[in-house]
Symmetry: C2
Subunit: 325 residues, 2 copies
């Protein structure tokens, strides 16, 4: 396996690569999970036609912590809502849900795999939640799922702490460890070094990458991580995701040389649905305030607020960010 | 020098790096060079305040080939129009004009340096024009200028032809050779290999990079070329340039660690002028049609036409591009 990784270049056909669509989960943070059933069905069909390997439908958030009346249904992604779209999912596309550490009643709400159409549970956590995340990983693994750990905000973690955290996670039953650039802070040079570290720590297990487009580097960082052996690559249709959004499905599918992939079904979906979403005022994608929070390694919430308020005093916003740091 | 290049990383302070603003030249292709004098003055002042090293005001196109009535004045960039903005230019900012091979009456229209406020002549050419470009380079050099050669559309040039072309240019009196990604086709992995080749061929002379943002890789490719020793880095304010545009000034200035650079004056210029340009309908920047021409290594003109016509049938456009190839 290591030998394959070393030889990887952009002309290769790499059957190990998995394209992972997170449109509804990260994009749900844009529109509070208010996707129409028609959109969800069309996205599911488009992903199958495009050769996408995984589709994440949303979070499975705790109904004790979050009121159902305040969110679209993909904040909770119940088994019934999933089956209404995918039936028994007799397709090659695998189904994912995300379980946030501290926000999921995982012991009760994650069903045994035999009772669920879900294939993979992605456990998202911050570094201080690793013991909890490992409990969630072991729970999901024991129930029969493929399991990933998406360790967020690592651009805030000092070097030696990160190494220890990665080794803890790697020693669990987890299948995949994600390198997550939550704040869109990393440059490709840093992603290369981190990807090598994640791949090395995980040994024969898998690694993934989830980027944000604050500096218009989500795609560049995704293919950079891939060059260094990362196989699970997150994308969203038209980059839809919180703040600056993510790596565009249509970019990565156009780049990959595996003949099973095609960007065309995603382009049709953009034409049919996404242009209207944007015309209706759903906002995501690169803009100067996201560049600034990315460069400053800061949570995008202040940039989202800046844009929502219609402000354009960019250099003053830069000063505000320095004050906050 | 080679030793410095090898050690270059993103934390370094690299005094050899030159930030080159091409907003009016590449952006002029968006608005037919119809910049207001107020904008030009504010851009000039913003570049000085931001620590930008060079500012290109436009082309010096032949008035025998192009009618003055059909273009803004920066298509021709006369000495008088330049001096109306910069006077004697008693600043550290160097002044550039571009001379297109086959479209410039260079023997008469490029004045001796002692009679001009221009510092650098950038000669743009395609590979079949190299003998002409070398005549232009020697002419400008003999007149006393710093001279660059911007060899365009190299993503269409087969490997051995490119090597021969680079060696021809390197053996002229040229000071700087630019790697130009005219169609936004190259990935960072390819830029790394090309940058190493350009740097090696040029020896003790300089190299530059000019990207296009078709695949949202203009910034990533710019910093990748820089890692491999390329020193002259083209940017435009808010990425303004033909089609998908270029590397954003505000991205590169935020990235560079040289304390003389600041993105803040550029952010103020965006707030004051660029938002209005966009509201007035001047169009540039990443969009799906540019992604497709970039991936297909095709001139952006068909994508510009597609967008101008208000079409959104992206996957059909992809089919059309394959037919054209």
């Amino acid at each position: 396996m290591q030998e394959v990784k070393e030889k990887r270049n952009m002309m290769n056909y790499c059957p190990d690569i998995k394209v992972f669509d997170a449109t509804m989960r990260d994009g749900g943070l844009v529109n509070n999970f208010a996707f129409t059933d028609e959109f969800v069905r069309d996205l599911y069909q488009a992903n199958i036609a495009a050769g996408v390997d995984y589709m994440e439908f949303g979070y499975r958030a705790s109904k004790n912590m979050f009121k159902e009346s305040e969110f679209g249904k993909w904040k909770f992604t119940s088994e019934e809502d999933l089956r209404a779209i995918v039936g028994e999912n007799k397709t090659p596309l695998k189904i994912s849900i995300m379980a946030d550490a501290g926000r999921t009643d995982y012991k009760t709400d994650i069903l045994p795999k035999k009772d669920s159409v879900v294939d993979i549970i992605r456990v998202a956590c911050y570094i201080h939640q690793i013991p909890l995340a490992i409990d969630m990983i072991e729970d999901a693994k024991a129930k029969g799922y493929e399991v990933s750990c998406n360790l967020m905000a690592v651009s805030k973690v000092a070097g030696e702490d990160l190494e220890a955290a990665l080794r803890l996670i790697a020693s669990s039953s987890v299948d995949i460890l994600y390198l997550v650039d939550s704040f869109g802070n990393f440059y490709p040079e840093q992603i290369a070094n981190l990807a090598k570290k994640y791949v090395e720590v995980m040994g024969d297990k898998q690694t993934g990458f989830h980027g944000h487009n604050n500096q218009q580097l989500a795609f560049a960082n995704t293919i950079e991580s891939c060059r260094h052996g990362v196989n699970y690559l997150d994308v969203t249709v038209n980059g839809m995701g919180r703040g600056a959004g993510n790596c565009f499905s249509e970019q990565l599918l156009s780049f990959l040389k595996n003949p099973k992939y095609s960007a065309l079904p995603i382009l049709d979906l953009v034409q049919k649905h996404v242009l209207k979403m944007k015309a209706d005022g759903w906002k995501w994608g690169y803009d100067i305030p996201y560049l600034l929070t990315g460069v400053m390694n800061s949570h995008p919430s202040s940039a989202i607020k800046f844009i929502k308020e219609g402000r354009t005093d960019y250099s003053w916003f830069a000063h505000e960010l320095m004050e906050m740091d």
